[in-house]
């Protein structure tokens, strides 16, 4: 088990996890949003490192990625800033496989580990192609979080659940990030994952309002909120304003847990 597995199982003993997502380097003071998110009740932070071709992202995160890249953001720069920021909760990096592939798998795993990063989400790294990366990352105790989609058939779910580390990222719908309404198929995906093992299941993709988070938290172990927060950063909201908004998600998730 990785450090992230232990940490997130410990979280599960206490409450449903709230996982805010931010785009690294979007503003000069982007790490303040991470600190605010922890104040607002985050249990885990997902930090997006922008890539030129974000195949899995909708317009909001694309726009944020473009802006961050124009500011000159790099993986090394992001990790440097993360290493200097005391957050008190684990951090996972979300990026595309080319960003780590370009640096060499062992070297990239070392950079992540040295910065204290607990895991990665690489949405375009399929289960089938993931073994070399998982070996490199595993050697440095960096967890590799895999996704399950509404389209994933049962036998694949079984293999993904057996392979993922930390948690399973359950996509609530067949869509890219931020383009959604309603509750999607979150409950269905969560229940399918549960049949295959006891790994924590976090729901993401299209969770934009506290009410949706509350609903998802009835069944899932955690909820990931991305585009809805990134849009607020793009709109110029301050870390304090974000913290207030994130605490609404915190409350909604805790309510959802009580309704379970």
């Amino acid at each position: 088990m990785t450090r992230l597995d232990h940490d997130l199982r410990a979280v599960r003993e206490r409450r449903r996890a709230l996982v805010p997502y931010f785009v690294a380097g979007l503003t000069p003071t982007w790490t303040q949003y991470l600190e605010a998110a922890v104040q607002g009740g985050a249990d885990l932070l997902e930090v997006g490192v922008p890539f030129s071709d974000p195949m899995m992202d909708g317009p909001v995160i694309q726009a944020a990625g473009v802006r961050a890249l124009e500011r000159g953001v790099t993986l090394e720069g992001v990790l440097d800033e993360l290493a200097r920021t005391a957050l008190g909760v684990p951090v996972v990096i979300m990026t595309y496989f080319n960003v780590v592939h370009y640096r060499g798998l062992e070297r990239a795993a070392g950079l992540l580990a040295d910065a204290g990063v607990a895991g990665v989400i690489l949405p375009d790294l399929s289960l089938e192609e993931s073994a070399p990366w998982r070996v490199a990352a595993g050697a440095r105790d960096v967890a590799t979080v895999l996704m399950v989609a509404p389209s994933t058939p049962p036998d694949r779910i079984g293999r993904i659940v057996a392979t993922t580390q930390g948690f399973v990222y359950a996509a609530a719908r067949m869509a890219v990030t931020g383009r959604a309404s309603g509750d999607g198929e979150a409950d269905l995906v969560v229940s399918r994952v549960r049949e295959h093992g006891d790994v924590p299941v976090y729901v993401g993709i299209g969770v934009s309002a506290p009410e949706q988070a509350r609903h998802a938290a009835r069944h899932a172990d955690g909820v990931i909120v991305g585009s809805a927060l990134v849009q607020r950063v793009l709109d110029g909201e301050s870390p304090a304003e974000l913290e207030a908004h994130i605490s609404l998600f915190r409350r909604a998730i805790d309510e959802g847990a009580r309704e379970a």
């Binding site: 890539f51 030129s52 071709d53 370009y102 640096r103 192609e129 694949r156 067949m174």
Partner: protein
């Protein structure tokens, strides 16, 4: 005998390249396409329908034309495989007929596609109309301006064209957007990818559909008394026309040459990377971000190359070189005047390479040029480029 361009491994790898790097949401769709294609391609009825559709509708077989005046000009024996004479004006029809038939076989009612120059978009819209499928084409906004007539052609054919405003607003961004769309509609929609790129099985499947070019050409050359050409030359963006003609000669002694755009030379200037579902040679900056390709030809404006080409380059079976915009325009003019064939700007890259290198090719060598597309779509652009020169 094992074939140089054979079947990739179970994961879709050609040596170190290829594979399947897609979001989990798309994995089941890719697996479905793979199993449907395997089954169809070993079904004589499907193969027969594919060939018959290309014969009765697509204008195949396209001829091999001896280019006599160019041959005399260069001191070589140059032959052209005339994909410019295929329906819709390029080799693209071969692939889309295959994929449209496969779409129907899978029970889906809609296709989506990306397009650069518009050739693949027009071809997809054409095949979709023929088979009664809905069609949506994603095209970089910049390309919709460069190729406005092709946008109108697609609309005439009943397709919807969606301008893509993200990223560099060219082909690579159109692929991203098509992938994003596919995630939302895999149940009833097939993604008709336009080149030998993307996740497995596309690089292999598209090459198989395009290999009719090389198979026909080998036979036609023999009928013209050429047992085996010394050189086979084709332009390369993603690389589907090159893969198609190389497939007919990879097991021969012919020297295989792929010509990339100077500003989009993935083999020459790229490094191994992962983009659009495949591991291949990709143009990247010092941080692993994909760089924008730059070429006068929208169809070669792509920062990657099909994984099988990366493999053929790595094992030395094919070599990849480049042609610059200026020499491409000259080549287009020369072929037009000498042979009465106006090639597409993409195709003119292969011609440009031949003009540049002819002096170093042993005199009398036999050269097969893949004339992948006709230049009608480019004449307005070429006119303004020539006016700029004056």
């Amino acid at each position: 005998m094992t074939h140089v361009m054979g079947v990739p491994d179970a994961g879709g790898h050609f040596g170190d390249f290829g594979g399947r790097y897609v979001p989990e949401a798309l994995m089941p769709a890719c697996l479905e396409v793979e199993s449907a294609f395997r089954e169809a391609w070993s079904d004589p009825d499907f193969v027969n329908e594919f060939r018959e559709t290309l014969r009765l509708f697509g204008g195949r077989p396209t001829p091999v034309t001896p280019l006599e005046r160019l041959s005399e000009h260069l001191g070589l024996r140059v032959f052209a495989k005339r994909e410019d004479l295929a329906h819709t004006g390029s080799h693209k029809i071969n692939n889309v007929v295959g994929q449209a038939l496969l779409t129907r076989r899978m029970g889906k009612r809609r296709v989506i596609a990306e397009t650069g120059a518009g050739q693949h978009g027009v071809a997809t819209a054409t095949a979709a109309a023929r088979l009664g499928l809905d069609c949506t084409v994603f095209m970089g906004e910049l390309d919709t301006q460069r190729q406005a007539l092709n946008v109108f052609r697609m609309e005439l054919l009943g397709a919807r064209v969606v301008p893509v405003t993200s990223g560099s607003r060219t082909l690579k961004d159109a692929v991203n957007e098509a992938m994003r769309e596919w995630v939302t509609c895999v149940d009833d929609t097939h993604y008709c990818l336009g080149s030998v790129m993307g996740p497995h099985p596309f690089p292999w499947m598209v090459r198989e559909f395009q290999s009719i070019i090389g198979t026909e050409a080998a036979e036609q050359l023999r009928a013209l008394g050429v047992e085996e050409p010394d050189l086979v030359v084709a332009c390369v963006g993603g690389g589907s026309n090159a893969a198609g003609i190389f497939a007919g000669f990879a097991d021969s002694r012919a020297d295989l040459v792929g010509v990339e755009a100077a500003g989009g030379s993935a083999v020459g200037s790229g490094v191994p990377g992962v983009l659009h579902g495949m591991r291949s040679m990709i143009l990247q900056d010092d941080h692993g971000q994909v760089e924008e390709a730059e070429s006068i030809s929208a169809g070669l404006d792509y920062p990657g190359i099909g994984p099988e080409h990366a493999h053929l380059a790595s094992i030395g079976r094919a070599r990849y070189t480049r042609a610059a915009d200026d020499e491409v325009i000259d080549a287009l003019g020369l072929l037009s005047r000498l042979e009465g064939i106006i090639p597409a700007l993409e195709t003119a890259h292969a011609v440009a390479w031949l003009l540049r290198e002819a002096a170093s090719i042993p005199s009398g060598s036999t050269v097969l040029l893949n004339l992948s597309g006709r230049g009608d779509k480019d004449v307005a652009q070429v006119r303004s480029l020539l006016e700029d020169r004056r």
